[in-house]
Subunit: 143 residues, 2 copies
């Protein structure tokens, strides 16, 4: 296995000030969003090549292969990168609970926030209101 992240992919990553990208972990068959973790280049490389998810622990400043202590491993099924390179989506087979609390997901553990529900206007077909492109996000990509 290569011990350096593919340079083409490395060039696409937009890291935060700590050198990390966000990794959204999703159960591959049910679609549940299990947790969000953080990865530096080497955690990305390990996750893409070892069949198991590895994060960078921001608190302990070390690699953390999910499940090595708890048994709650995440087996990688697929991984993709977003359009601007600051987030990954990793689809996994989660053994047991994703959350250290014992909850299936970290969002079940953290809890619902009671958001006001919005309703789509039945007339709204998604046609642009101003321009044919979402300039906002386009700008975002160019940061």
């Amino acid at each position: 296995m290569p011990d350096v992240l593919d340079p083409t992919l490395s060039a696409r990553l937009k890291r935060d000030d700590a050198g990390l990208v966000a990794a959204v972990i999703q159960q591959h068959d049910t679609g549940e969003v299990l947790m969000v973790g953080w990865m530096d280049d080497d955690a990305v490389r390990r996750t893409l090549t070892e069949g198991r998810v590895t994060f960078w622990s921001r608190s302990r400043k070390e690699y953390w292969r999910k499940g090595d202590t708890s048994g709650h491993a995440q087996y990688v099924k697929a991984a993709s990168i977003d359009c601007d390179g600051d987030a990954l989506l990793v689809q996994v087979d989660q053994v047991g609970a994703a959350c250290h609390t014992g909850a299936r997901t970290c969002f079940v553990a953290g809890g619902d926030l009671g958001a006001v529900v919005g309703e789509r206007d039945p007339q709204d077909d998604g046609a642009p209101h101003a321009t044919p492109q979402d300039r906002d996000q386009q700008d975002e990509e160019n940061r």
Copy 2:
């Protein structure tokens, strides 16, 4: 509507150095992960109270209510916080494409990374290998 984020929720947020948390946006009925955006306290407040998702644009340093330019609004169906307060999961009804490229999701736009697939040991029932708690993530929460 209140114009300050609920102090109890504010106290739970673990912001990055820029004062932001990650927001995972998921289509409420299909489970598709559409995109990841960033929110400061006021973007969280707006998202929870206005029925539409608002982000903080890191590049333009301004609020960005998804769809105001493109028409591709995100109507909030539910929102939750993770166990350590550094990520939100917002379930939405996405009008049209979530991505400025026209792709349904930003991860479809960014593309698959060809990860090596991992396989769960059929004997692996998720029983702890070392301790009954996932000490790694527990430490993470205490950062």
